[in-house]
Amino acid sequence: MLSYSLKRLGLAVAIVSVAMLLLFAMIYLIPGDPAAVALGPRATEAMREALRIKMGLDQPVWIQFWNFFINAWQGDLGNEVLSNRPVAKVVMEQLPSTLALIVGGMAWSIALGIPLGCWTAVKRGGMADRIVGVFSVAVIAVPSFVVAIYALLIFSVSLRWLPAIGAGEPGDIGDQLVHLILPSLAVGLGWVGYIARMVRASMLEVLEAPHIRTARAFGLPDRQITYRYALTIAILPTVTLLGVGIGQMLSSAVFAEIVFARPGVGKLVYDAILTRNYPLVTGAVLVTTVLFILINLIADLVVGYLDPRVRSRL
């Protein structure tokens, strides 16, 4: 397990490094002069030159990359243009709100998806299986921003059951939760379908396995076979899938935050694009990417811990 964990950790570090390289390459390839963009049209050439030196733009490419790389690993993502505050700090301020949204989305998808998948696998071929099947495909297909807008239209504008905008009063957990319902549903609804299908498919596969036949031949009760012998194996690919799902929920969160006017990293990036605040955009992209890689790492380690075949690997 230790060796597996170290290997997986090393891989995560390598992926983060390559991702940083890619991001740096993108920044470097921007047409135009970042200093000019940052200072606006009224800046003098001397001011631009000073900023260029300050930003290290006069150095050779590989030195620029090395500085970027080292600084990024140390958590220094540069300063944003408008208020000159550290990018990392600004992003971190917005992160909890986005994380709350994603945790909410995951809660929906796990709480509904796993039982639905299990249930339809056991009752496969029946009416319920078919209805849940169509439902799953439908929610997977419809993009989250359409779900968000239609949910807003139905539950906030027409029915007026739930609040339309904002994240709720600071400090008032209840109000914040009420404000979280619709956005997190928009983020998580598609994943209810994904997880239901994944759990159903892997349950069906596991239930066909010879060792399940052995368990039946020993007269073990059906409940024990379904939950103890089958689900423990069928859940493994779902855990991996959830890790991937976080990435997509990070994407959906951007839309949910804009539609419901919630604070968060997505809203931050969107506003930064409109104000051409490049360091903030790239910084936020890097933070969410690292977050995603980290979550995948955790998901793989959890799977490794749950699966003795992986756990005992040298």
């Binding site: 060792h211 020993f218 073990l220």
Partner: protein
């Protein structure tokens, strides 16, 4: 006294090409304390037979008629809970594939513990029993084996663990489905010897399914020969191997290169293929591959008995 009596068993599967009659009028007995071998090639219905006995037929399979009498009770009439109570306590099974037969994410000890769920013993006693069983199947260091997972054992050891699990509840009937097919020859004989030894100690009956004639000849007391879903011949092992009555049995024995003690460059074969069981022939099931076919073979042959030796062939006269 019979532990298991199969009476005119008919099993049908619903398929896209129409109903497939996988077992037709299958009858035979498994007497107490005896090892009965079922021998047959692919498509003869061996696995369907096991699944029918265990009540584990696939969703599209159905027992059309007939009885499976186990200790005088008809298993085909039992509901799923009654069947579940039979499996693992009165009837145990060892399957062909030792690699897949054990759950990969549950330790061997836990799986052996779960099997004993009906027992009143405490956890420590149950584990002690598991260790005792593993010791009897010669698993080295049985105590530590309990906390290990299936993938940590070799194929031969996994099959021995599966046998230990099957024998642990001291069943009345052990069903062994090609338990040695996946093993190397040297492991195969060791496994057969182990099965013989445990059967004598526990005193159960064994239904041993195999396509390997040598293994059947060595291990079994009685033999049932199946072809394309029918029992074509049954009797004691000596009767079947020394004095086969049915042309299929006779030719199957001749085909086995192990039976040819003198070296030959031309081995006997049985040309042709088994009939489509969605539309089985009206008469003798083996007729179209039989070299002694006559006109009468277009009608179904009766089962003829001679001193406990039975065969379904028109040529056999009592």
């Amino acid at each position: 006294m019979n532990v298991l009596g199969i009476r005119n068993l008919n099993v049908t599967f619903g398929t896209e090409g129409g109903p497939l009659r996988a077992l037709r009028n299958v009858s035979f007995d498994v007497p107490r304390h005896r090892i009965v071998g079922v021998v047959g090639e692919s498509g003869c219905g061996k696995s369907t037979l096991i699944n029918a006995i265990l009540g584990l037929l696939a969703d599209n399979g159905q027992v059309e008629s007939g009885q499976i009498l186990f200790e005088e009770r008809d298993l085909t009439q039992m509901d799923s809970l009654e069947m579940q109570a039979m499996r693992g306590s009165r009837i145990s099974t060892v399957f062909q594939d030792p690699m897949g037969a054990l759950n990969p994410v549950i330790s061997v000890g836990k799986q052996m513990l779960h099997i004993q769920y009906r027992s009143d013993l405490g956890r420590t006693e149950k584990n002690a029993r598991s260790v005792e069983m593993l010791r009897r199947v010669r698993i080295p260091d049985p105590k530590s084996a309990l906390s290990r997972y299936p993938h940590e054992f070799s194929g031969g050891m996994k099959q021995r663990i599966a046998i230990a699990m099957a024998m642990m509840m001291e069943p009345v009937l052990l069903i062994a489905d090609e338990p040695t097919t996946a093993l190397d020859a040297t492991l195969e004989v060791a496994t057969i010897e182990l099965l013989q030894e445990l059967q004598a100690q526990i005193g159960c009956s064994v239904l041993f399914i195999s396509h390997h004639l040598g293994v059947i000849a060595e291990l079994c007391d009685d033999v049932v020969v199946m072809y394309a879903g029918e029992v074509v011949e049954r009797g004691t092992t000596r009767q079947i191997f020394h004095d086969p009555l049915h042309p299929y049995t006779e030719r199957l024995l001749r085909c086995d290169p192990a039976g040819q003690s003198t070296r030959t460059r031309h081995l006997p074969t049985i040309p042709g293929e088994i009939p489509d069981l969605r539309d089985p022939p009206k008469g003798c099931i083996f007729a179209d591959r039989c070299d002694r076919r006559e006109t009468i073979c277009e009608t179904a042959p009766p089962e003829v008995e001679m001193g406990g030796h039975r065969a379904c062939c028109h040529r056999v006269k009592p």
